[in-house]
């Protein structure tokens, strides 16, 4: 079944899944374009791994559909799976094999012709920094290297969709940086979905973020825009020779000024009018001696907590009685 938009590598529609009577995933829909890195964020137990298992065909959804490169995963699993590379939470490694043998096996398993394997093997080894470990038994490698072998098996056959479940767990900071650079590089040519609860990872490598909570997608946007979510426009300013507080407050566009220390102020302003240029001219004119001017940046952590908290409050709100709702309205009116 050819897809109308070839750029769309993965489409999941209205996936639901329950284990026994316990619903785990409700109504999850995802789309992924070529050359995009999607971060799946969420607390532990939010349903990230279950979603990934469904996207890779390891777990059947109760309802919903998944298309990989336009091929229906549920109806034509073998064709669709050839386009997937998957690194589960625990890397699926045969400890008794050498890195080389294991990766050759993984490549052939995904249907690669044996003639193409040596080149793919060399590339995957080089990309994951495993070239000098290729003859070692996997069982003798450290956790970090085993994780790299896990990533190597997911990318060796150059799949259109790469799904990585917490790829940087257990790596040291240098390795984390290398692997993130690798994922970013892969993201330019393939589509990557990675799940994580490390927000720094999302900030540094993901184009797009989906936040998952209690088995639902509650927020989806580009990671740049997520950072702006709920952000206050403002900056902190340090002046060696500060004027009176009112002088700063009088600048057009400034809504609020707070003195942080003797020389430091936090200035909030309206989104339409950024008063920093004016502040600079005034500082020069009056000899305030500006030392530093830093825009306020919402940290992704704060944003994440804010979004998940809002969602939890929403859920609680629904359950509340009318009288409480009335009180809230009252509060708003005040």
């Amino acid at each position: 079944m050819p897809n109308a938009t070839p750029d769309l590598t993965l489409t999941a529609r209205k996936l639901t899944r329950s284990f026994g009577n316990q619903p785990v995933i409700h109504d999850v829909s995802l789309q992924l374009k070529r050359g995009e890195v999607l971060g799946l964020l969420g607390h532990n137990g939010a349903g990230k791994s279950t979603t990934m298992q469904m996207l890779t065909g390891c777990l059947l959804p109760d309802s919903g559909s998944i298309e990989i490169c336009g091929i229906d995963l549920l109806r034509h699993p073998t064709q669709a799976k050839a386009h997937i590379g998957y690194l589960p939470e625990t890397p699926p490694l045969y400890r008794e094999l050498t890195v080389r043998d294991y990766l050759v096996f993984a490549a052939r398993l995904r249907g690669m012709q044996s003639a193409d394997v040596p080149a793919a093997l060399a590339l995957a080894l080089q990309r994951c920094g495993l070239t000098d470990k290729s003859k070692k038994l996997i069982g003798t490698l450290s956790k970090g290297y085993q994780q790299r072998v896990g990533i190597a098996q997911a990318i060796i056959h150059q799949p259109a969709v790469i799904i990585l479940d917490e790829p940087t767990v257990g790596l040291d900071p240098t390795q984390i940086r290398e692997i993130r650079a690798l994922i970013r590089e892969l993201g330019n040519r393939h589509s990557v979905i990675l799940s994580t609860h490390l927000l720094g990872e999302v900030e540094s490598i993901c184009d797009r973020v989906e936040i998952m909570q209690h088995g639902k997608l509650i927020y989806g946007d580009t990671s740049a825009r997520m950072q702006q979510y709920g952000q206050v426009s403002g900056f902190t300013v340090s002046l060696r020779n500060p004027p009176a507080l009112s002088a700063l407050q009088d600048i057009i566009g400034v809504t609020h000024v707070e003195q942080l220390s003797e020389r430091q102020f936090r200035v909030l302003h309206t989104t339409e009018h950024n008063p920093s240029a004016e502040l600079l001219t005034l500082a020069a004119q009056h000899g305030w001696q500006l030392e530093q001017l830093t825009p306020l940046q919402a940290r992704l952590e704060d944003v994440f907590v804010k979004i998940t908290d809002e969602q939890s409050t929403d859920i609680k709100d629904v359950a509340r009685t009318e009288s409480v709702a009335a009180r809230t309205v009252e509060g708003v009116n005040k």
Partner: protein, 247 residues
């Protein structure tokens, strides 16, 4: 794909020192039985020479030896089948197979043929040992090869059953004990029921091996072995599919 999986299985088996140890010990046991039978045969040979239509060297040495091996395999094959799926599940390597473009049938058959290749290597020395007798006497090739064929079919039964039980659990030890319990149960039911037409005889794989052991090729026995293996292989495929449904 099936070949790839089978070869991977073999490679994993041969990269474990325990496999080599088991192989060595088994060869020693097989050789011991062979020499014991040979010794016994040489002792009674003068008496046999006076009997008309006495059993030949193949019937006196090869047939009992194959019978012993058939019994030993019943206890040994579960030790090899236990790892097949249970260990992959426990080490979470099954995910690699489930997320690869493979059907459950390919996974199951790959593992089955991988193990069968290994079992054939394990048994291959037995006919070789027996053929050394040809230096001094002539052998009954028909009897010898009907035994070999019977043994291969019998071990296919054991392997299929063990593979299915391995697919049910994530604990290799449970898989081994489960398969051993079923095989021993079938055997004990067979030798325990005294009535000649008892259905228990028909259920036991070892009973169906007896005709091969006497040099009789009965298509009924062969069909039993093929059906027995096919049923458990199909059940194992079904179980792997359920893995996707129930998680």
């Amino acid at each position: 794909m099936i070949r790839l999986l089978a070869l991977r299985e073999l490679r994993s088996l041969f990269s474990m020192p325990s496999t080599w140890f088991v192989l060595a010990v088994l060869q020693f046991i097989f050789a011991w039985f062979f020499l014991a039978r040979l010794d016994a045969f040489l002792e009674i040979q003068p008496q046999l020479a006076q009997v008309a239509n006495a059993p030949g060297v193949t019937a006196s040495i090869a047939a009992p030896l194959f019978n012993v091996i058939a019994l030993l395999l019943m206890m040994l094959v579960p030790m090899f089948t236990m790892r097949l799926i249970a260990e992959e599940r426990r080490n979470q390597t099954l995910t690699l197979l489930l997320s690869s473009p493979l059907s459950s049938a390919q996974i199951v058959l790959g593992k089955f043929f991988g193990l069968m290749l290994f079992l054939m290597v394990l048994m291959a020395t037995t006919p070789m040992m027996l053929y050394t007798l040809q230096l001094g006497t002539s052998l009954d090739h028909g009897l010898l090869w009907s035994n070999v064929l019977g043994l291969v079919l019998l071990s296919a039964c054991y392997a299929a059953l063990g593979l299915y039980i391995s697919a049910l659990t994530s604990q290799p030890i449970i898989a081994a004990i489960g398969a051993l319990a079923v095989l021993l149960g079938l055997w004990l039911a067979d030798i325990g029921s005294s009535a000649l037409d008892s259905p228990w005889h028909q259920l036991s794989p070892l009973n169906h091996f007896q005709n091969f052991n006497y040099g009789l090729l009965d298509s009924g026995d062969a069909a039993y072995f093929v059906l027995f293996s096919a049923v458990f292989l199909l059940l194992a495929m079904k179980r792997l599919n359920n893995n996707r449904v129930y998680g």
